[in-house]
């Protein structure tokens, strides 16, 4: 039988990144994002809650996270299913929630991404992040996602003939956007000098290339019907791709095959082509990964991202606007749990022309890209503003 159920994003919330010691723990951070979306939909019956979180075992010593979070908000009889897929947990959680609504199993489902990164010191956080690599063959020997990104950056610079200064355009542009975004963690502009003088994290990757770790949460509610008639946002396509492998087995560090496949799947489902997309949110945990994502999705020709960014071709006012809110670079990186949900919540606001995106202009189609590790598992979500 032909399934005609549509899936709408009927509510969204975002708790800006920070060192939220004053807010309490992971439960409080979850509740803040969740109750905001719950209050937007009134007494809608939620079938389930999908919780995107990557590191609660390591950072908070907590497993079966969903159950405790649901109980904390008075919903212990609602199944709260925790999804862990490293720093790409959000996209997979949205995919699972979407499937439940699309299949007619639930009318409405909440998706909440939450991660509290600052419950531990930096070196312990690095350890948690290194579990995203193949721990037996990479993480055990000191390999971290930053080291992987650094080698990809080096390969990109050699392949396309760029200097580090050329690639510094990513943090400069993201900080520029973040300086106009009250939801951003980094609200200040960055100059080329700031970027070049920042400390080296993993040569050639510098501090300004790394999305800063933050505590954060964000949520959406997906339903099979819109709850209002204006600025209705619908999920038209959702795709997942995989290229899970040890870095040494790869032929190229400059193409993200999982991103390409996820995007093609989403485009086919939405019956649109990549050139129809007006807005993109890409997962720039490291600036190089943001650039590679754009190119692997087919939004930008391979090797062209730094040039296009520096001419302003991807800024607001153009046919394609990339990371209008400043990306994870300026929003902060709320671990695996909430980074993709930050992107999704921002995209919903961008399409709705909600604060602070009133002046972005009316756009119809947006794409949200999330990825675990270096090209391990990726998702792409295509959102359409239908009214």
């Amino acid at each position: 039988m032909f399934n005609t159920t549509e899936v709408y994003v009927v509510a969204h919330s975002l708790v800006p990144g920070g060192r939220h010691y004053e807010k309490g723990g992971l439960k409080e951070l979850f509740a803040e994002a969740f109750l905001k979306v719950l209050d937007q939909v009134g007494n809608t019956n939620l079938g389930a809650i999908y919780v995107a979180n990557a590191f609660s075992e390591v950072l908070q010593d907590q497993s079966v996270l969903g159950a405790y979070l649901a109980d904390y908000v008075g919903l212990r009889r609602i199944p709260a299913i925790r999804i862990e897929s490293g720093d790409g947990s959000s996209g997979i959680a949205v995919l699972e929630a979407y499937n439940m609504v699309k299949a007619g199993i639930y009318d409405c489902v909440a998706v909440v991404g939450v991660e509290k990164m600052h419950d531990v010191v930096n070196v312990k956080l690095n350890k948690a992040l290194s579990t995203i690599t193949d721990y037996e063959y990479e993480g055990f020997f000191g390999v971290t996602p930053a080291a992987q990104a650094a080698m990809a950056m080096k390969e990109y610079m050699i392949k396309y003939g760029y200097d580090y200064e050329d690639l510094a355009i990513w943090p400069i542009k993201m900080h520029e956007r973040g300086s106009k975004n009250p939801l951003a963690y980094m609200k200040k502009q960055a100059s080329l000098k700031d970027v070049l003088e920042s400390e080296v994290v993993a040569d050639p990757l510098r501090l300004y290339d790394v999305a800063p770790a933050v505590d954060g949460s964000a949520a959406v509610i997906l339903c099979n019907k819109p709850i209002k008639s204006d600025a209705v946002i619908r999920i038209d396509g959702i795709g997942v791709g995989a290229y899970g492998t040890y870095l040494g087995q790869r032929d190229s560090l400059t193409e993200l095959y999982s991103v390409r496949d996820a995007t093609n799947m989403a485009l086919r489902m939405a019956h649109v082509s990549i050139s129809d997309i007006n807005l993109a949110e890409v997962h720039d945990t490291y600036s190089i990964l943001g650039m590679l994502a754009l190119e692997s999705m087919g939004l930008v020709r391979p090797g062209e991202t730094p040039r296009l960014l520096s001419t302003g071709a991807l800024d607001a006012g153009n046919k394609l606007v990339v990371n209008a809110g400043g990306g994870l670079k300026s929003m902060g990186f709320p671990g695996g749990g909430a980074s993709g949900m930050y992107e999704l919540a921002l995209m919903v606001m961008e399409l709705m022309n909600a604060k602070p995106f009133e002046s972005l202009g009316r756009a119809e189609l947006g794409i949200v890209q999330d990825m675990a590790g270096f090209d391990l598992v990726s998702t792409s979500i295509i959102l359409r503003r239908v009214s």
């Binding site: 063959y137 080698m151 040569d203």
Partner: protein, 70 residues
Amino acid sequence: MRAHILPAKAVCECGSREFKPYPLPSTGKLVNFTVLYSVPVEFEKMKPLVIGIVDLGGVKVVGQIVDCMD
């Protein structure tokens, strides 16, 4: 068909489940590397780490580069 595989797997992407241990050459070509300053907790006292990819005749190994002159 013969291929050299690292890391070890139960099934090769080609479908084969038959593997034989194979001695890798003791020298290879460094194809990429980075100097990592922000390290996981176990490596705090050893930083910075040189992380590299070494091609050992068709099999690439990712790991720490140690005992090398700068």
